[in-house]
């Protein structure tokens, strides 16, 4: 019986991601413009940038959910836009909004992937799922449905669902955006530990500056659909570029002229 199950055939191989001159238009709007990036195998690559700058769209291109208007995305030697790539490379995407299966319980959300790909028998899947839920302190919620979870719990289930897949390429879209500081720290630890234990390449989109500076091997800043800077975390502690400095260390200014109008409206 056990011969019908395949234990992860992917372990050991790692893939980098190469993005060459990627441009994406939605109708007349250009969302990504001539993006070129090289993510090395086994690296933790963090992408930061203002809201609406095109980070999620970029991740969707890597996951093969969007097709480029111009340019290309390659995972290892495979074309990311080609559906058959997913038979070769094992990738997981933590969606910004979670994208949990609303008709399945938390447990079944996690178990779906190993079941469909017959990675273990039911007992093995149970062990694997419960272990992952424990890591994210979700073991009590295993039989709840997504609609019964808080925003942060949903995010953690989404992360757990990606971890259970034991992928070679892990894409996180704002994994800590809805989490408390302790949980955020746990997520940072998970991302860093995974890289040590398995040969996974991680691409993390985040607004969390501390997370970025603590776990990243390299950081890219994307603004208005273009790459503004790529470098080591140290390069971004005291950035020379004033635009980036202001993005990473915004000054809270109650005298900002933008608020004048708000005050006037009150009178």
């Amino acid at each position: 019986m056990s011969s019908t199950y395949s234990t992860s055939p992917f372990i050991g191989k790692t893939y980098g991601v190469t993005i060459r001159h990627l441009t994406k238009n939605f109708g007349p709007v250009t969302v990504l413009q001539d993006i070129s990036l090289e993510v090395r195998p086994g690296e933790i690559f963090v992408i930061m940038g203002p809201s609406g700058s095109g980070k999620s769209v970029l991740l969707k291109h890597i996951a093969g959910l969007e097709t480029a208007t111009r340019g290309e995305v390659r995972i290892g030697e495979f074309d990311a836009a080609d559906p058959s790539t997913r038979d070769q490379v094992h990738l997981a995407l933590v969606f910004q909004a979670g994208a949990l299966f609303s008709s399945l319980s938390v447990y079944d959300n996690l178990a779906l992937y190993p079941r469909e790909h017959r990675l273990a028998d039911e007992a093995g899947i149970r062990q694997r799922v419960m272990r992952t839920l424990q890591i994210l302190s979700l073991e009590k919620a295993f039989n709840k449905f997504p609609s019964e979870l808080s925003g942060g719990m949903r995010k953690r289930v989404a992360i757990a669902r990606a971890l259970v897949m034991e992928p070679q390429l892990l894409l996180y879209d704002e994994p800590t955006s809805e989490l408390d500081p302790v949980m955020s720290a746990t997520i940072s630890e998970i991302i860093a530990t995974l890289r040590q234990q398995t040969a996974v390449t991680s691409i993390v989109v985040t607004h969390d500056r501390d997370l970025a500076l603590s776990i990243a091997d390299r950081i890219a800043i994307i603004m208005d659909g273009r790459i503004r800077a790529v470098g080591q975390p140290n390069d971004f502690r005291q950035p020379a570029d004033p635009v980036i400095a202001n993005f990473l260390n915004p000054v809270i200014d109650f005298k900002n002229p933008r608020f004048k109008q708000l005050e006037n409206n009150h009178e």
């Binding site: 997913r86 990738l91 995407l93 779906l112 790909h117």
Partner: protein
């Protein structure tokens, strides 16, 4: 012109969806629980309304024909008329219309909301083809359940007619002669033709509703629009295809 190309486009992508789903037929045995769940949703939940409606359609057919045939003394053929029209035409078409309204709309709503809330995208990144997990079990289930529903509709329609014939004072044809007339002019071909029609309609409805659901784009409002589109398209297809299928079968 633009509309015509849009229609052809839709037909093309529905056929593509079918081809992609059929590729996964070998996975059906291990999707057995999903198949059973869909059989339950398609068959069992539609059953009560099919029974009630076909009973009343049979009854009203008997009533109308009893009323008009009395004038030229053809009452003994009421059984034939009710039997043949139920079996060849009204049974399959009525079951198909109920399927479109009850099951088709639900399929489109479910798949469209999965699409809008990125659940389909999640399946794609997990390398679980939506055609395999979502479309194929539904297509298989409708193929199994449609003939069952159509046979039940026929039986209920026939008995509805029989009851009306027996207990309406100006008709008063007893059920024995009603069923004798029904049997005399009905062949196996009439029954199988009706079942073929039901099968064909059911398959087309489920395919079209899956296709419309999966090709939904945008936000929650689009889900409602998709459901409306799916039901209207199904109804049009049922009535238009009915003519051509009937012609082909005759």
């Amino acid at each position: 012109m633009k509309q015509l190309t849009a229609v052809i486009d839709h037909i093309g992508s529905a056929v593509l969806l079918l081809v992609r789903s059929l590729k996964f037929v070998p996975t059906l045995p291990r999707q057995f629980p999903r198949f059973i769940e869909q059989c339950y949703l398609i068959g069992y939940t539609t059953l009560p309304i099919v029974t009630i409606l076909s009973f009343f359609i049979g009854s009203v057919l008997a009533l109308q024909s009893g009323y008009s045939m009395e004038n030229f003394g053809a009452k003994q053929f009421i059984g034939t008329l009710v039997g043949l029209s139920m079996t060849r035409e009204l049974g399959p078409v009525m079951v198909a219309i109920l399927l479109a309204g009850r099951v088709g709309s639900a399929i489109t709503a479910e798949l469209a909301s999965m699409k809008v809330y990125q659940e389909i995208d999640a399946l794609v990144t997990m390398n679980i083809p939506p055609e395999r997990m979502l479309v194929l079990p539904r297509l298989a289930a409708v193929l199994v359940m449609m003939p069952v529903l159509a046979i039940i509709a026929n039986l209920c329609g026939w008995y509805g007619g029989a009851l009306v014939c027996q207990y309406t004072h100006f008709i008063s044809v007893d059920s024995e002669s009603y069923f004798a007339a029904l049997k005399r002019y009905m062949g196996w071909k009439d029954i199988t033709d009706g079942l073929y029609k039901a099968e064909f309609f059911g398959f087309v409805i489920v395919l079209v509703c899956c296709h419309i659901g999966l090709s939904t784009r945008g936000g929650p409002r689009e889900i409602g629009a998709a459901v409306t589109r799916a039901v209207v398209t199904s109804l049009i297809l049922i009535l238009v295809l009915d003519y051509f299928v009937t012609k082909a079968l005759i």
